[in-house]
Amino acid sequence: MLTLLSDPQALADLLGTSLRLAVPIAFAAIGGVISERSGVFNVALEGCILGGAFGAAVGTYLFGTPVAGLALAVVVALIAGLILAGLAVGLAINQLVAGIAINILMLGMTSYLARLILGADATTTMPGFEPFALPGLSAIPFFGPILFDVDVLTYALYLLVPFCWWAIYRTPWGLSLRAIGDYPVAADSAGISVPKVRTFAVLISCALAGMGGAYIVLAQVHVFTENMSAGKGFIALAALILGRWNPVGAFLACLFFGFSDALQLRLQFSAPDVPYQLFSMVPFVASFLALVVFAGKVRPPAAIGTRYIRGGK
């Protein structure tokens, strides 16, 4: 532990790993912010990450380029989003139930279709997005190589965080989004279509989570494995609560979770005599404690989780 602080190279490695582990969660968490700001719980983030990972692997496998993989990842996640919007917004079914149903469906579908499509090639690594250094910025001492020698999806995330903040807090669309999440009746009276905005928010949210899944396959491990999302979507849900339903806050919370995950991986290697399971639960314990300790004073969007039926109670 102490050697880590005295050795700048080890610390840089640790922070780089933290960032890489935070990126997929951050995509999902920012997606979750948009959906929950409109009043729809998106428990399906987990399934969307998995669907995105699956789409990325299959697209890259079939067309030979990671760009196609990214495109298919977004398509698969959008299909999940359409189901969620249809069930939760269209049919006004309990949003949590709809989300969980999608997670179960995605788990089964991706495992089954991956075996059908990838078959024996499932373990061969496929091409992905390689990191490239931004001239100038990457020359910053210490932080430059960590932050500005990364792949295109991570750069996209850097732009996404301020863009989402701007879209939510500084645009008319963001105002209607927040209004619907807080008081849909008033938004409806003002002539904003609640189902339309909610559907759009859910679709965006799932597409972003799908990009997070694509990142895992295209920039991290370069293969698809069953259930490879492994709870990241749920950590994203915790992160967005911790980040107070704000894209910047959610991103910072994701960096915290990425750091705790990187730290536990490091501990697994440095203390091989301690069973690794003790360390693998660290991100989840950290999420749990963070929620319990810091979330006491949170104020979620007032209408979150509630269905909206025009003229209903």
């Binding site: 719980f41 049919l91 089964g108 579908m109 059908l116 003790l278 639960m281 989840f284």
Partner: protein, 372 residues
Amino acid sequence: MTNLVRYLFLLRPVWAVLMALIVGSGLILLAGVSPLGAYGELFRGAFLDYWGLAGTLVKTSPILLAGLAVILPLRAGLLNIGAEGQIYMGALFSAAAALYLPQMPTFLALPICVLAGALGGGLWGMIPGYFKAYHGLNEVILTILMNFIAINLVSYVAGGPMMQAGAPYPYSEEIRPSLWLPIILPQTDAHAGVVIGVALAMIMYFVLRYSTTGFALDTIGRNVNAARYAGVPVRPYLVGVMFVAGALGGLAGAFEVLGVKYRLYHHFSPGFGFDGIVVAFLAALNPILAPLAAFFLSGLKAGALVMQRATGLESTVIEAIQGLVIIFVAASLGLKLDAEKWAARLRGRERLDRAVGDTFRKQGAKDADATE
């Protein structure tokens, strides 16, 4: 006629399951296998064969108990996604009791081991219940996170302090045979857990329907302000209901240890806790229907392997179909029967008959005249 529509409508989860199976047959066709053949093998392997039936019953026990662990808190408006973690904690407590408590006569030791499992799951369920009731934290996210913590905790214990010396992968010592659950179908491993599960489902049905506790829970679920106004102590009820739900999940874990595995394995549950959510919705939150739903779902799972052996079709397709089932059932429950609209349609049809005529109706009317 309106009644017929009403009955057809009440059966909508059944139609939804059939629809899901039809859509699922599209998935089976993708693999180039005949859906009828595959479903035939599936249901034969799950229900029509002594060994297969026993295999289905072995899975019914944890899935039913997990289903009850979801249904009970949902009646009070809490969604318990934590049955999986509660199963693991129940198994941990139960295995610890079975392995470390001093030798006792079986009639004393077996109930203690079972109740230890219920206690473990109950305490694990109570934690998110407390934070929900007193701090307003979302119980869905807390229970999901606690699942991962419990699974890793059991992995750690089974691979560390409780691991059998020299075991190739994490599992504990074997539990002595006097603590094994009795078998209900001779020569199979169908244990008594499913009987206890069905009994608990009955008890839960009567408690929810006929007791003040059940009434209080339903009131909290439907209108928490009304419940508070009526003097129901809402917060203690929420903690209590999560304790009981966790205890049900814990029982499922205890029965897996004492009835099937006879050891504490790491990763022993293939997601029974999540199957519980499917059961809760298939049964439309009615405990009396939960055994049927759990039996059906267990049949799908047990039959999936038979199907894979017989047709070469990947058994993971059944997981996908299970997802389709819950989506279709959830969607069907979201549809509302507009009785007024149907009645209006049917009245319109009667008016049409009077204006245009209907051979059957006239025939019937003439018969009626003739008998007079």
